[in-house]
């Protein structure tokens, strides 16, 4: 494959991106795009980490001119095992590896053993443990066997062996990336996980600062995925199984991602949260409070302000869920709420505005749900629409998500005067009701409802759509709030200071 991406020999800020910009559209990707464009004086680089190339389509964003370097790595596609080469394994390297595992079991406040912070540990055959040793060395086999005997409560050694192998393989891939990446004056990751681990390695390897901007909590989202996926085996029989306990392999995966998260928190000099809730969670997950600052998202209000006059005086009987058609957005609850609403307002329409290619199976389920609820004439899957075209046509913006950060679409809707009805997730309550005396005095910019509750969602929408005064007040509160607290200029000012410190 020909590498058509821009290349440079050095950049100011290297962004480390996992499953987001430029291949996936969404809030985080838009934010990354916004940040790069917002600092035209800085040369940015980006490392995109994905799973498999065929899971991503074309690049979704126009690459800004100051994105001078982009390299793309697919962990599954690039997982090429070296030729089989039997060896004993470096005794010193494996001794350090054992210390690493002890540290994972009982993290010490002084942090990781120094040798393990270096990418070179994973790349060199002498004094370290390279990928070939991890796969083929006698010591590696013996170490895995001893850990199985000591810790594993699942009866299948075969599953244990392959779980350990598959789980750890990306570590060596990421170390290889860290070892060969062009120099940067600072590293900036937008999540923990693999990107965060790469950031930690780069920080120690190049001795340059690492900034972490965490929009959601990566570890929490992986944890939920692991709880629910079907492919992680549980080989215990009915007598061995306790319904209140998760299986050993699920627990192993959760601990793995928690460890990656701790490694990233440990390496980061500055940790940015979008709102107070994320900050608290980061602290409970091991981040030091003094490193964390809260910087909410901000938008270009001027871009959306002209839309206010283009909107009809009465609320249009059209609702829009603006987001990707993926399970985390809980589009199904939105569709169910439309069913309830149509009983009261037969001419009402519910639009699902966003790409549906990321999870085709879920998108198909949503379409099937529309048919089973007899809503074929009321619900439209419009695909991507420019918000500038969308906002004048809708009465309310709806977010039925089960997890959110601080959604940019909500801010954009606010700037256009569109009230928001949202589930009580992430910073949505803060956006709608305000936080602090001054903010709350601005009024309520919509309504907050519990997750997975179509009735509550429908009732909240109904009360705004059928009450002109409430709708007008919500619209005004939305405009004032975004203009006061969530402008792009405010966010850039905070990041300017962060970058100044990191680059100095």
């Amino acid at each position: 494959m020909v590498d058509i991406f821009p290349k440079a020999k050095q950049v100011d800020v290297m962004l480390l991106l996992e499953g987001t910009f430029p291949y996936v559209s969404g809030g985080v990707s838009s934010w990354v795009h916004q940040i790069i464009k917002g600092f035209p004086d800085l040369d940015f680089g980006a490392v995109f980490i994905g799973s498999k190339a065929d899971e991503y389509g074309e690049i979704k964003y126009a690459l800004p001119p100051n994105l001078k370097h982009l390299q793309v790595h697919y962990l599954h596609d690039e997982h090429i095992t070296p030729p089989v080469a039997p060896c004993a394994g470096d005794p010193h390297g494996f001794e350090i590896l054992q210390r690493l595992h002890s540290w994972f079991a009982n993290p010490h406040p002084d942090g990781l053993p120094a040798e393990l912070k270096q990418a070179s540990f994973y790349l060199k055959a002498k004094g370290g443990v390279d990928y070939s040793q991890f796969l083929y060395a006698d010591r590696s086999w013996q170490y895995i066997c001893s850990l199985y005997r000591e810790r594993c409560t699942d009866p299948s050694f075969v599953d244990y062996f392959w779980t350990v192998r598959n789980m750890h393989a990306p570590i060596w891939q990421l170390a290889a990336i860290a070892g060969s990446l062009i120099p940067a004056r600072a590293y900036h990751t937008v999540s923990t996980g693999y990107a965060g681990f790469l950031g930690g390695l780069l920080h120690h390897h190049a001795e340059r600062p690492l900034i972490l901007s965490e929009h959601g909590i990566y570890t929490k989202e992986r944890r939920i995925d692991i709880f629910n996926n079907e492919w992680i085996q549980d080989n215990r029989n009915a007598m061995q199984r306790d319904p209140t306990e998760i299986s050993y392999f699920r627990d192993l995966w959760i601990r793995f991602f928690e460890t990656l998260g701790r490694f990233c928190y440990d390496a980061s000099g500055q940790i940015v949260s979008l709102y107070e809730g994320v900050r608290q969670r980061q602290i409970s997950d091991g981040a030091l409070p003094e490193k964390i600052s809260v910087v909410p998202n901000g938008i270009d209000v001027a871009r959306f302000a002209p839309l206010r006059t283009a909107r009809p005086a009465k609320p249009p009987k059209v609702l829009a869920l603006l987001g990707r058609v993926v399970p985390i957005k809980d589009v199904k609850t939105y569709i169910r709420a439309i069913r309830v609403l149509v009983n009261h307002i037969p001419e009402l329409e519910g639009w699902v505005v966003g790409p549906d290619g990321e999870d085709p199976e879920y998108a198909a389920e949503c379409r099937a749900l529309v048919l089973s609820l007899d809503l074929a004439d009321c619900v439209r899957f419009t695909g991507f629409m420019n918000p500038v075209d969308l906002f004048p046509q809708i009465g309310l913006l709806v977010l039925s998500s089960i997890s959110e950060g601080l959604p940019l679409v909500a801010l954009e809707g606010f700037a256009a005067g569109v009230p928001l009805v949202s589930t009580d997730v992430g910073a949505c309550r803060q956006l709608i009701e305000g936080v602090g005396e001054q903010d709350q005095a601005l009024g309520v910019a919509g309504a907050v409802v519990p997750i997975n509750n179509p009735q509550a969602l429908a009732v909240a929408c109904l009360s705004l759509l059928q009450n002109q005064q409430a709708w007008d007040q919500a619209s005004q509160a939305a405009i004032t709030r975004v203009e006061t607290f969530y402008t792009q200029q405010q966010m850039f000012a905070r990041y300017h200071a962060l970058y100044q410190e990191a680059l100095s």
């Binding site: 409560t153 009866p155 929490k220 944890r223 939920i224 709880f227 629910n228 215990r236 029989n237 007598m239 061995q240 306790d242 319904p243 209140t244 306990e245 998760i246 809730g277 969670r281 399970p327 809980d330 199904k332 169910r336 069913r339 309830v340 009983n343 389920e365 099937a368 749900l369 048919l371 089973s372 609820l373 007899d374 089960i402 997890s403 997730v425 519990p450 997750i451 997975n452 509750n453 179509p454 009735q455 429908a458």
Partner: protein, 331 residues
């Protein structure tokens, strides 16, 4: 009176009975004295034995008393000797052997493989843990995982409750478990709706409509929808049941479903008529019985409720309806 005194009187009575046989009085007097003293000794011995007998084995005190009395009275002398031996046994050996009901045994190897055997958790335990917000997250997650392994309306309600939890992780997990339960039924509905478009023969169409009616009803029965959405599912179930009945009017299972839909809609007259129709078409009377009882309850005819529930000897052991039947005095 103490046991020792009773024992002395019993022994003296038995001794008197024995001595009276060898006396010089006329025969009828000796027989009379023997019987009187032996009767007294037998009563005293049987009282003593009953009092000493381990309580956990006593199901009927009168029966036990009768047994010991017979043993003593109809087996003179030897009965008394046997009683003495039994008393000694009860007094000394049972007292020494404070029997433990449970003893520790090593786990069999297939169980010992598991590092930690959990105690498990019922619905009640899970409710109480999930409602207690200040419990550690790990404990509440355990409760949720336990709920996730079961199904039915209680489980759905609990998961629905947990989706409103203040802890992000709890509510996300609850949401996913709830969604998984709903997804199974939703997939059936979608597949049947698709099938309905292509169904050509009346038999096939009737079968698809029947499946759709039951699937929509399952959403209601499993408490996977509330308020307006539940009403919509009830209407859909009624609509497809009606269509299926037009093609298969004598299907007793469908008629029972229609009756249940009428019950849900509180149309008791039609529900009652449909139940009768289902019964006349061969519906299992025992399966229909709870709905008839429910109808009687709404009509405040509590005698009929009790009478109906008592018609099924096994109803008290069935999950769901069992506790209801027991409440109404079904033994």
């Amino acid at each position: 009176m103490s046991s020792l005194k009773l024992l002395i009187y019993a022994l003296l009575s038995e001794q008197s009975a024995l001595l009276s046989i060898f006396g010089t009085q006329p025969v009828w007097q000796r027989v009379f004295f023997f019987l009187a003293a032996h009767l007294l000794a037998s009563v005293l011995f049987s009282l003593l034995l009953t009092a000493s007998f381990p309580k956990r084995f006593i199901s009927s005190r009168k029966g036990l008393l009768g047994l010991f009395f017979s043993f003593n009275f109809f087996v003179p002398v030897f009965g008394a000797l046997g009683t003495l031996l039994l008393l000694l046994y009860f007094k000394w050996f049972l007292k020494e052997a404070e029997r433990t009901e449970f003893s520790n045994v090593p786990l069999p190897p297939f169980l010992a493989e598991s590092a930690d055997l959990g105690s498990g958790m019922g619905e009640g335990g899970a409710w109480s843990r999930l409602r207690t917000l200040d419990l550690p997250r790990e404990l509440r997650l355990k409760a949720l995982l336990s709920v996730g392994t079961s199904s039915g309306h209680n489980s759905s309600r609990l998961l629905q409750h947990a989706t409103g939890d203040s802890d992000d992780e709890i509510r996300l997990l609850a949401f996913n478990l709830h969604e998984r339960q709903e997804q199974k039924i939703q997939q059936t509905i979608s597949a049947e709706l698709h099938e309905l478009k292509t169904a050509e023969t009346p038999e096939l169409k009737a079968s698809v409509c029947r499946n759709l009616a039951f699937s929509y009803w399952e959403m209601v029965y499993s408490a996977l929808a509330q308020d307006d959405l539940r009403d919509f599912f009830v209407e859909q179930a009624a609509k497809y049941a009606e269509q299926a009945l037009q093609l298969d009017a004598k299907n007793p299972a469908l008629l029972v479903l229609v009756a249940r839909i009428y019950l849900q809609k509180r149309d008791y007259k039609l529900a009652s008529e449909t139940i009768q129709k289902a019964l006349s078409e061969g519906a299992d009377p025992l399966k229909v019985l709870p709905y008839q009882a429910e109808l009687a309850f709404y009509e405040r005819d509590f005698k009929t409720v009790r009478r109906l529930l008592q018609q099924d000897a096994t109803i008290r052991f069935r999950p769901g309806i069992g506790p209801v039947a027991q409440f109404w005095g079904v033994r």
